[in-house]
Symmetry: C2
Subunit: 518 residues, 2 copies
């Protein structure tokens, strides 16, 4: 990349001052930068101003400037030697309710210098968004939550910089993408009204703040870009995801799905973006069954059932003895049970097909997935009829949301050509299994694209893209939020989707083929 | 004044949020302010953002906002109750090398709430600009000087607010006008290059900073406007003076003179501004003669000599026994000595006219102004021939500067119709005496206008004027600095001006009349 591709890094050679040209140091530098950037407003922080006279003279009026593109101006955030061997670093943060992910980026080329993550330390006082908002209402509750996340970030920044062989004061830009509540807690803003009708955030588009003002231990002049939200239920993490997917630049419509406790869905192209979110159910995160667990070593993540022998082939993360089942494992399991005839189209366990794996516990049908002697815990891992029912409600909700959002623009889910799946869910899920249970539409496998952590990806992208803030604001402003009204239409769709794969089997021709292998 | 006259105070009534209108609190407020101000960019500080949800709900979505007009945006700096009985205050500072003056202003109407001043505490380590710049080169010298002035200001702010019955956190705007060196020390910027060829300040037009970032103990969101400089020798105090005088808005040319150690002169109108500065000599400040002192109780500030009896009529500040003579007293004395024939047109004491007041001390002619038995010190107060010579050089330099600057636009000093005199010099000097010795041109008395502390006046004005920053920048950008080249032309003018009132007596017809009273 050169200075035109990456206008935020500018190498300037200034005419040294003379009696004929006695402009001050700051205006000399700013004038050159304005010329380069063809812009009217370039600001220079007091900290940098203090160091400027020395640096200009020491380096012969030839310096490298790092700039941050704010909404209405450029800001110089670093002035370094032209041949400085240390990278100018930026920090991208995906501020999850459960997990926080960080990536250190070389601002000159976008290269990842180091990555890490940590469990959101706010979990220690309140497990989920709702509980944290209530906790914030205690005296000092908000500042406690704010302190927890800031301290956690600072610890992680230190480790990250250490891993990359950098000092934290070489981090000159920060971008943070989180849901609306996490962003509020990160900024120290009262989240109380997010969960109360009419659900009002304190701010939609936060200004660009100094990262140190937010408590982050990085360069004093570093700026923090906080991804904006559309409202209480559509946060900056999703905007970052859209940015990362490129949905907003496509000529044909595509869809982006991020599944967590909520399923968040965005359909759109370069002209329009429609978003909706709905409770798809924690079943999809592996959070419901007694044996459910997060994706971690020992979690069952892949299952194959031989359609003839009904023998289970279990795969676990890192090949550890199984200790639970994660989201992708649950979906695999449901798909395989269905394909092997062990559950019927209503999702009910079929006694005749279950054989010895079926047993009754507390009057409820259970299927043994891993016998006690093969599990890490010494107890058998089972899934109950209630677990399967719950999964079916979740997958039906998911499909109904997809159907609702596509139909709002006169499309069917099956007409999509590109389907982005974000998050760990997207990374691990087997689209074939998800199609098999009718959770995702029956598209060619090539239509499904896993984005990984799209929120972190978008936050990283924002650090090395010139007009990014403008692009982010444009995405935000263009989003139409579709309220999921649970009306008769929705209920009809939901009821039809509560079958495996769907009442209308014609929508899932592949599943028909998979069920009856030729 | 209403909100149109003073756009920086806006009372807004917002539509309360609803499910149909769920814009965030910040955007709801900012949207209303943008509409009101017909502007694109309004920023809200994090501190205010934190308090916003509570305040909006507590006050029924009707609030009073104080805004600061930055160069490229408006910034909300306070959100208060509509019927808040406490004034929103602003602080104007004239940052003098010797004396610092402060004025607390009601931002709603520009009314002065309280005023005070203090000796610049930097005097304790270095008396003048040059010495301070050298002191700043010591290790920690700069931060020591910076600490001194900031601590001094904070003490004064506290007293000032106490006097006005306000808390210091009700000070929401600060404006600071000082010379280039004092402004650098106030901002903590290295002044080293100001005094070294080619005389380069660190910055000409400082950004708007948060006052707290500069160390001032005022409202966290308060912004500080630092008056820009034209260069090392033309500072923000003079820009403030121009703003206050209105020179830059006149259709006819006028002149503004600020006399301290340097004489600073600005000639101009709405189309152009020419500035120059020269060493007019400390004689004019009462700083040269052995009996010289600052204007303070006991200083001789007015003298009349009876032209027939040559009896001295002495007036002192606060009618205290005389202990010295201040600037206006020295000029009065010289004028009266000349009118009474006690000095000749070359400024030499006339032995025949001096009588018993003349005596020789260390081989040098002295004139006794106050005999020992009438002075506060018990010693006689005298002025020497050398003192008078020095005064004559100073007044000649002053007149030469006036002649040089007016001639640069094809005018004579005598053609001026309005002559602003700033500073304590301007407040106390008797223009008649100054004309009499040929220091100021022979204009009708009504042409002379004393501005008082024009720097403080301009700083105060900046707090309650909508487009002030723009106006200040325009003044700064329009100034042409005229280098006083001590060439043959200058020396010829200077030599001609070294007579009382001038070689060319036709320029001073009034003086001829005063000398020969009809």
């Amino acid at each position: 990349m050169n200075d035109t591709d990456r206008p935020w890094i500018q190498t300037v050679s200034l005419t040294p001052p003379s009696l004929q040209n006695n402009t001050a140091d700051a205006e000399r530098l700013i004038g050159a930068l304005k010329d380069r950037l063809q812009t009217d407003v370039v600001h220079l922080d007091l900290d940098l101003l203090k160091e400027l006279p020395d640096r200009l003279r020491k380096w012969g009026y030839r310096v490298c400037c790092l700039l941050f593109r704010d909404r209405d101006c450029w800001r110089v955030t670093a002035i370094t030697r032209v041949d400085d061997p240390h990278p100018l670093a930026g920090l991208a943060v995906d501020l999850g309710t459960t997990r926080v992910a960080l990536r250190l980026v070389d601002l000159s080329d976008g290269r990842c210098l180091a990555e890490n993550g940590f469990d959101n330390p706010q979990l220690a006082v309140a497990p989920d968004v709702l509980a944290r908002i209530h906790f914030a209402e205690n005296p000092d509750g908000l500042s406690q939550l704010n302190d927890l996340i800031i301290a956690g970030l600072n610890r992680a920044i230190e480790k990250l910089c250490h891993a990359a062989g950098l000092e934290a004061h070489r981090v000159y830009a920060v971008s943070v993408a989180g849901n609306t509540a996490m962003t509020h807690l990160f900024l120290g803003l009262d989240p109380r009204w997010i969960i109360r009708e009419p659900y009002i955030p304190v701010v939609n588009k936060p200004d660009i703040f100094k990262a140190t003002q937010l408590g982050l231990a990085v360069a004093p002049s570093a700026r923090a870009l906080i991804f904006p939200n559309v409202g209480s239920y559509f946060g900056g993490d999703l905007i970052a995801g859209i940015l990362y997917s490129g949905l907003h630049r496509r000529t044909d419509a595509a869809i982006l799905v991020d599944v967590g406790t909520n399923a968040e869905v965005i359909l759109g192209n370069q002209d329009w973006l429609i978003a909706c979110a709905g409770a798809a159910g924690p079943a999809l995160e592996g959070g419901v069954t007694a044996m459910g667990m997060m994706a971690a070593p020992g979690a069952v993540d892949r299952i194959r059932i031989d359609p003839r022998t009904r023998a289970f082939e279990i795969h676990t993360i890192e090949d550890q003895p199984p200790r639970g089942i994660c989201g992708s494992g649950v979906i695999d399991l449901a798909a395989q049970l269905f394909l092997s005839g062990m559950v019927d189209i209503r999702g009910k366990l079929v006694p005749a097909a279950g054989g010895q794996r079926l047993k009754e516990i507390d009057g409820l049908a259970h299927l043994v997935v891993v016998p006690a002697d093969q599990s890490a815990t010494g107890s058998e891992l089972t899934i109950s009829q209630a677990d399967i029912d719950s999964l079916i409600r979740s997958k039906a909700a998911m499909y109904t949301i997809l159907e609702t959002i596509t139909s709002s623009v006169g499309m069917q889910p099956e007409e999509l050509t590109t389907f982005y799946v974000a998050g760990t869910f997207g990374s691990f899920i087997d689209p074939r299994s998800a199609i098999c249970i009718g959770m995702l539409p029956d598209l060619p496998m090539g239509s499904y694209q896993s984005l990984g952590n799209s929120s972190l990806g978008g936050a990283s992208r924002a650090l090395t893209s010139a007009g990014c803030l403008e692009e982010i604001d444009r995405i935000r402003d263009r989003i139409t939020y579709l309220e999921l009204n649970v009306n008769q239409d929705f209920m009809n769709r939901f009821s039809a989707a509560k079958f495996l794969p769907h009442t209308d089997t014609a929508r899932f021709p592949s599943v028909e083929k998979w069920r009856k292998p030729s």
